[in-house]
């Protein structure tokens, strides 16, 4: 007997009012960002006057019963297991939480240094440090079950069998709302080539996981490929419910002494505002070749970034690196997006989706596959 998966069904009114979001912000001790002297582009003083009354629907239907309460999620690896920012962030106001990459066995991760700041971004090489799937379930699942916010477990592995086994163990555990496959991992069975850079390998792992679970299945694209479109199409055809894009860009930094690369692992993943144009390009390309929903990730630091990603076809976004500087940003974005809907006369943020895409027959999908007419 599988335990019943918790699904968000209360979609009306879907959102805490803006006032509620602001109230939460204040009680959690939120202060104005940066120095008051240095004016911050993201902090607009007064929201535009409401031009639409009544509830705004910010929900996102990803299929298989997973309805996100709103389209602002937090990205894997930047928000731990959802508890770490507890007192500072009102997690229940988020659209979803993607937890740290989880593997079959515990991993100690890469040698240090593991993070460094770069122009407009950062490099990280955590090396998937995590206690292993069984410990993750034992430690966090009962907490997640109590939350209204859906928790999506990010899954990593070194072989198709690894992925399948992790997902099997997660399947049916109350408190787990979905799976996000991190396929930017070396495939030991194929000489260490990443799953994410090869359409066949990506489709293979997606199909195998698809057979192992009926949990909503998100697959995370890597930007480190020549042409992402055939890979995205292969993953969609293999049964993914949604795509998330993008993971970090491969990069290195040099130590101050110039005698070696800075990171203990030499290579790291670049994230933050610096990668936003790359992420936009990937979402723009992919949304024109697949019919499943796309959740955009990459360098989001404000509402304008969210609207840009919606314009190129994403139906939801994840905020990552920006949380480190501004932990309350994702919750604020929910309120700001609702305001933007009102100001533009949209009943749903889906009104912003796809406006920058070339005209074509069908608009990008905003629903899970099996809900398509």
């Amino acid at each position: 007997m599988k335990a019943k998966r918790r699904v968000v069904t209360d979609i009306g009114p879907p959102m805490p009012s803006r006032a509620a979001v602001q109230r939460r912000g204040r009680t959690s001790g939120q202060s104005s960002a940066g120095a008051t002297r240095a004016s911050e582009p993201g902090s607009r003083p007064v929201p535009p006057p409401a031009q639409l009354d009544g509830p705004i629907d910010l929900t996102v239907d990803l299929g298989r019963g997973l309805v996100l309460p709103n389209p602002i999620l937090v990205a894997s690896g930047t928000f731990g297991y959802g508890i770490e920012y507890g007192e500072v962030v009102d997690i229940e106001a988020l659209g979803g939480i993607c937890c740290k990459g989880t593997t079959l066995r515990p991993r100690v991760g890469n040698p240090t240094p593991r993070v460094t700041e770069t122009p407009g971004g950062m490099l990280n090489s955590i090396g998937l440090q995590n206690p292993g799937v069984d410990a993750v379930i034992a430690k966090y699942a009962t907490t997640w079950e109590r939350w209204r916010v859906p928790v999506i477990v990010n899954v990593a592995g070194e072989s198709v069998e690894d992925y399948v086994e992790v997902v099997r163990r997660l399947d049916g555990i109350p408190g787990i709302a979905g799976i996000e496959l991190n396929i930017s991992c070396p495939n030991v069975g194929r000489g260490g080539l990443q799953f994410a850079i090869d359409a066949d390998a990506a489709a293979g792992v997606t199909a195998a996981v698809r057979r192992a679970t009926d949990l909503p299945l998100l697959v995370k694209l890597s930007p480190n490929v020549a042409d992402v479109r055939p890979i995205a199409r292969a993953i969609a055809d293999a049964g993914a419910d949604a795509l998330t894009a993008v993971n970090t860009l491969s990069g290195i930094a040099v130590a101050g002494s110039r005698s070696r690369p800075l990171l203990g692992n030499i290579y790291g993943g670049l994230s933050g505002p610096a990668i936003k144009p790359v992420a936009l390009r990937v979402v723009y390309e992919v949304s024109q070749v697949v019919d499943i929903p796309i959740i955009a990730i990459g360098g989001i630091t404000g509402l304008d970034d969210v609207l840009d990603f919606l314009a190129v076809g994403a139906v939801a976004v994840q905020v990552g690196t920006a949380i480190f500087a501004d932990p309350t940003l994702p919750v604020r974005l929910v309120g700001e997006l609702e305001d933007a809907c009102r100001a533009h006369g949209h009943r749903s943020h889906l009104g912003f989706v796809g406006t920058a895409l070339p005209r074509r027959a069908a608009a990008p999908s905003s629903k899970g596959v099996e809900y398509r007419p």
Binding site: Q30, R37, A38, M122
Partner: protein, 288 residues
């Protein structure tokens, strides 16, 4: 842990390239303990995407102020030096776990190398307030880098070592430790990793010789105290405050770890920055 707006009250360049800044932040001044730190947001996100961690150098509950002490090592720390009194910046804190002083410890030995002063400085205040005796051993490259005596409480015995011998002992601060080791009930160190490694080697030999006897600790009595717990740290002769590059500073990103003797990397921001010295794997064996 809270996000607070902290107003700059005073900024001084106390040494070439080293700054002491005092901020009005009552929640941090009253709610923090020696050894904890704050994670401070820099300016515009499109330039700097990470906050900067600073030890709470001093905390004054009466005035509701805390101070931070830093060296300008890049554009990020440089940004802080352009702040003017009245400017409000965003601080996340207090973060991490504090030093744990055994209630029976009367003689505290503080050992600081360079900027490591910022890590142990507030413990001097706390210990003196609690009626303990404090000796502070401080090492720097040269006289011009020596933390000013005037910025320390009068009650502290301040012993200096410089690499070039321009003031105090000619050599490393670790050379001074053996002379004070027998006097000390507990020791607390912060500084460059080679220094911490050397001090912890000294401490390891000491705990065999006398550490346990000195405070009349019972061996093997009662339940085992889990390594890394406040109780276990309180029993340690040497506690070290570690430094590591940080992302989130709340335990979410695993960017800041140090390898532990347990084999599981420990987060400097969450399990640390203070550790009992025997919790740290000083060889950093990342065998995989």
């Amino acid at each position: 842990m809270r996000l607070v707006g902290a107003e700059l009250i005073e900024a001084r360049e106390i040494l070439p390239g080293q700054w002491l800044q005092t901020y009005h932040a009552p929640a941090l001044a009253t709610g923090s303990r020696a050894g904890q730190f704050v994670h401070v947001r820099t300016g515009d996100l499109s330039g700097f995407v990470l906050r900067r961690p600073f030890s709470i150098n001093t905390a004054d509950a009466a005035t509701g102020t805390i101070s931070i002490h830093f060296r300008t090592i890049g554009r990020g720390t440089e940004w802080f030096t352009h702040l003017r009194p009245g400017d409000v910046i965003d601080m996340l804190g207090p973060l991490g776990r504090p030093f744990e002083v055994d209630p029976r410890s009367q003689h505290l030995l503080l050992i600081a190398g360079g900027l490591g002063m910022a890590g142990v400085r507030s413990l001097a205040d706390e210990a003196i307030r609690d009626g303990r005796q404090v000796t502070l051993l401080f090492g720097a490259a040269s006289a011009r880098d020596v933390y000013p005596t005037a910025l320390l409480p009068d009650e502290v015995e301040y012993v200096i070592a410089t690499d070039d011998g321009s003031v105090g002992h000619h050599g490393y601060v670790t050379d001074l430790v053996p002379a004070y080791e027998a006097w000390a009930d507990q020791a607390f160190a912060c500084g460059p990793e080679p220094m911490l490694k050397a001090v912890s080697r000294l401490a390891a030999t000491r705990s065999h010789r006398m550490g346990v006897a000195k405070l009349g600790r019972k061996r093997g009595g009662g339940k085992a105290i889990p390594a890394g717990s406040p109780a276990a740290r309180r029993k340690a002769f040497l506690q070290v405050s570690m430094e590591q590059r940080m992302g989130c500073a709340v335990g979410a990103c695993l960017g800041c770890v140090v390898m532990a003797t347990s084999g599981t990397p420990q987060r400097v921001c969450r399990e640390g920055p203070v550790f009992a010295s025997d919790e740290i794997d000083w060889e950093g064996s990342w065998g995989r």
